[in-house]
Structure formats: C-alpha cells, structure tokens
Symmetry: C2
Subunit: 326 residues, 2 copies
Amino acid sequence: MKIGILGYGNLGRGIECAVKQNDDMELAAVFTRRNPDTVKILTEGVKVYPVSDILEHKDEIDVLILCGGSATDLPVQTPEYAKYFNVIDSFDTHARIPEHFNNVNKAATESGHTALISCGWDPGMFSLNRLYANAILPQGNDYTFWGKGVSQGHSDAIRRVEGVKDGKQYTIPVEAALEAVRNGENPELTTRQKHIRECFVVAEEGADLNKIEETIKNMPNYFADYDTTVHFISEEELKANHSGIPHGGFVFRSGITGWNGEHKHIIEYSLKLDSNPEFTSSVIVAYARAINRLHKEGVNGCKTVFDIAPAYLSKASGEELRAHLL
Amino acid sequence: MKIGILGYGNLGRGIECAVKQNDDMELAAVFTRRNPDTVKILTEGVKVYPVSDILEHKDEIDVLILCGGSATDLPVQTPEYAKYFNVIDSFDTHARIPEHFNNVNKAATESGHTALISCGWDPGMFSLNRLYANAILPQGNDYTFWGKGVSQGHSDAIRRVEGVKDGKQYTIPVEAALEAVRNGENPELTTRQKHIRECFVVAEEGADLNKIEETIKNMPNYFADYDTTVHFISEEELKANHSGIPHGGFVFRSGITGWNGEHKHIIEYSLKLDSNPEFTSSVIVAYARAINRLHKEGVNGCKTVFDIAPAYLSKASGEELRAHLL
C-alpha cells in the first residue's frame, strides 16, 4: 500500500520512519506548504511536491496522512482531503472531536472514502484502554496521568515570558498518586495532586530571574494549579539534555466485581516513549493499514479507533494471529 | 439482552455477578449437569434447569455462556451449542485454539449463529495487547509475565503429591526481570528468571515433610525449572489466608522507532485481580454484548477478540464514546 504525507514536521518525519519499518507499505510522496526545494526527506527516490499539486497524485496514494496541527490545520484539511483521499489525522482537541468527526464523516461518506480521526496515543491508545476497561468494569473509577514528558503547549507558554530566551517543560505524574491508584484506594485527586511541572529555562542576559520564576509559577491555567519547579540553565545545557521529545503516561481503571462488590481489580496501561511524534506516527501507520483494508471492503465514512477491529491493524492473517498471538 | 449460563462453578457464578452490573442485560437461566435442586444461585426468580432441557429454552436466550473447562468440556460443548445458540467460551488451551476455532466456526456458520471463543484475559485482554503493540511497534520484543496469582494446575499438582492433604501455589513474576524489561534492556530471560513459584502445603499427619518438599521442587514441567519455595502451614491457616483466587500479570512490548532505530518505547499492560474468575466473567459479559449486536447485524460464524471493534463492547453510543472516552 502507498502512503502519502501532508506536512513534513516531526510527525511527518515520524510517519516516514514508521513506513520504513513495515514491508507491506511504501512512501509514495510528501506534500508541503513550504517550497519543496527546501524540504529534504530521508527516503531515497521519493519526491516532495507543493501541496497545490496534491490532486495530481490522487491515484498514486492509498492513504494520505495529515500531519498538521489540531488548532487550525486539521479542522480544514481533513474534511477537504477526505473528498479525494482516504485520510488519517491525529486531531487531539478532545472537546472538538464530535464536530470534527461530523465534518469529516460528511465529506468521506459523500466521496466514498474512508477516514480515521484522532489517531495516536491520547486520543488513540489511551482512549481504547479507557473504553475496554470501562466496558469490562462498569463499576469503577478512571484515572489518566501524563508524563514524564515534554508538553509543547507549556514549553511555548514559558518561552512567551519576558526575559526568557528558551525553555522546556516536563509534565510528571506524582508518584504517590500513582501508588494510591495502583493500591485500589480510589483517591479523589486534585490537579495539584496528580502532576508536577518542571521547567528548564534559558534566561536572556541580565534578565530578572526571580521575576521570571514568579511569572511562570503563577501563570493561570498553565502553572498556577500545580507545584512547579523552575531551573535556570545555559543554552548549551538545554540543547545537550533537553532536546528530545519524550512522553508517556498511565491509564487506570480501578473497579469492583462480585455479588456485593467485594473484589477489587486494577487495569493499568502505560507508555514510556523516547519520541512522542515517532510513537504517534507508529500508531497512525498501523491504522493506515486498517483504513486501506476497510476501504477495499467497501466501508466508507469517518471512523475512530473505537470502530476498528484490532485484526485490521496487523499484516498477519486471522489464522496466524489466532495461532501465535491469541 | 438475555444471558444463559451453562455450568455453575466459579466462572458461572462470576458471570451471574457481572450480568447484575450491566443494566442492559438480564440472566435468563442457568443450566447444570448436576441435579438442579442442589444448585443454589444468587439471582432471585431465575431458574436452574438440567442441561438436558436446554433446547426447550432456545428462544429465551440471546447469548449462551459456556462455563466448562478447556480440557474436555468446551471442545465438545462449544461446537455443539453453536448449532442452537450464540455462544461464548473461555477456551484457554493456546495450542489447540486453531482446531477449536475451526470446529466452532463450522457449526456457527452452518446454523447462522455468532460465536466467540477464548475470551477472558489470557487468552483475551493480554492477546489484544500483544496484537495492538506488535502492530504499532513491528521491531521489538514481547514479554508476558503472570501473577502474582493462584495457578490452579500447579495447585492440583501439589495436591497429588503423597502426604499432601491440601495446598495452593502462587506464580510470582521476578521483580528484577520486570524492571529490566521496563528499562528497555530487552533481556533474554530463562524460565527461572521470569517467575518464581511459592507453595503453601498442608501435610497429612506424620508425613515426611522433607520428602514432600523435594518431590514438589523436582517435579518436571511444573516446578523443576523454577525457584520454588514450600511453606508448610495448618489447614486453618490455608483456609484463612489462601482461599482467594487472585491473579494478574503483565504484557510488555519493548520496541524501537526512528530512521536508525534510535528511539526506545515501552508499552505495558497489567492486571491486578482479586478474583480471577470474576474478572474473566466481566470480560466475557462485555463481549456477550458485542456478540449479540453482531448477530443482529447479520454477522455469523466464529470470532475472537481480534475480530471485534471495541465500540461493540460498550453500551454507550458511538456519539457518546467519541464525546467522553476518545
């Protein structure tokens, strides 16, 4: 199957790497809004085209993967390209998923294409684990923790503070909260009790460090509700020790069974990821296989990870899966 | 939807408890090979019938859950009852799944019923996690650990030793092995390095304790390849502290991504269960909902957990799932 990539940032590059790991796929083309001559990709022999030419390559692509941002790119791009391609995106603005789904579903249904939105790990694998665990243990509590990992939004917020040259923010789950959940204590946790925020900041020369630290720690929505630590480091140190994009997290369901709810059960799913965009890409590429198959079976419209039987993700046959993985 | 239970042991009782937790289901009937007058169930107003009368109740049952054993019951029962009912079993003899699948698939396809085999947590939720994780990270290693929990087969083996009155065996993952996997070390682990076995034994009066201990520790297949500890305790202590049926375990995928495999990722799924049969039952009951729906949609034949889209397990609509769990 042939994969197209629209948008060659961290996610697009991750898709390219994931395609290389799957021998039933190949990268057909990369499309960019930049000048294609300035975009250097890794795969030999594959071309980069301006996005304006994308429809000329309609018949060379089985699934087009949209690697734009959720704020402004995907709400426009996914419904638009679902008119011409089978598409997948990683739309992650949870509150706007229903609206986005309806727009994409309309376009895909009318054009006879197959689309998948909100693919990745949250939304994505974490959502799946919430669904399975809720269906299995209807009486119980859900807990999701993120990290340890880099939050792009919070790092951006730091960099907007006056006197800050550069910075990275890590979201870290509170170990005591994880343990309480694991022990079946069903704690009620405040925002502060669930995560801490650790900031590594490069200040501009002569900047007021105390003022920067106070501004960060009291920033509403981003930091004020958390225990936040701020470390001032050099630009070299930031580059050497904080240029990765790790992430991860934990999804728990803590539930009870028995005639009188006398037995406790803990379901825990966790991810520890060296590269957030590459893992997200790996999930997307597995689902691209599923979308391609569903399309060939005549299934159209918009789907989410909830709608796709797991066997569609694997290149192994049903027979092989039953013999080796069941 | 109406559930029938065939076989009222630990699993059948667990199904009964799980049905109570799901308000879109009710228990229709329990069928037993014992004298029905001797089987006392928990649900008021529901009758226990002899299994010989089961076909008289064909039209009162949407899904029949087979709660027999994998060694001799299910290989016969599941294909037989798939002729008349939608059925689910928890067949867990991994090596014989392909053969069992074919037998059940033939019966269910010919009769126009929907069947699901090998449902529970292993096979079941663990299998699902192996499949998802393998599809996402095609380059990597799988690890499955079981416990801490009671192994029925090993407890039975202890009880067959001369001089043993009663006993329980716990399978326990080796903590150092779990940590090595979690750290992405991709260890090659021997049987002995993965699990330890802890036995609690009630000896008959005057029995040779040293001989019992040596016999257990050197038992081929069951204990010889493991570090095994044997504790002799009183009958009262066994009853007071070891009459539960806890279990659980861990499924890991440790994989790499990136153009040159430069980034590591760990996917971990774990279960900590106070009651093995009640959790297995809870999984089965969620899948009963899926099987009932698939049957109404006209999907027949034998399925496994790999073939079922997650949304079918939940009583919430697609719209609700997208809004609240995605």
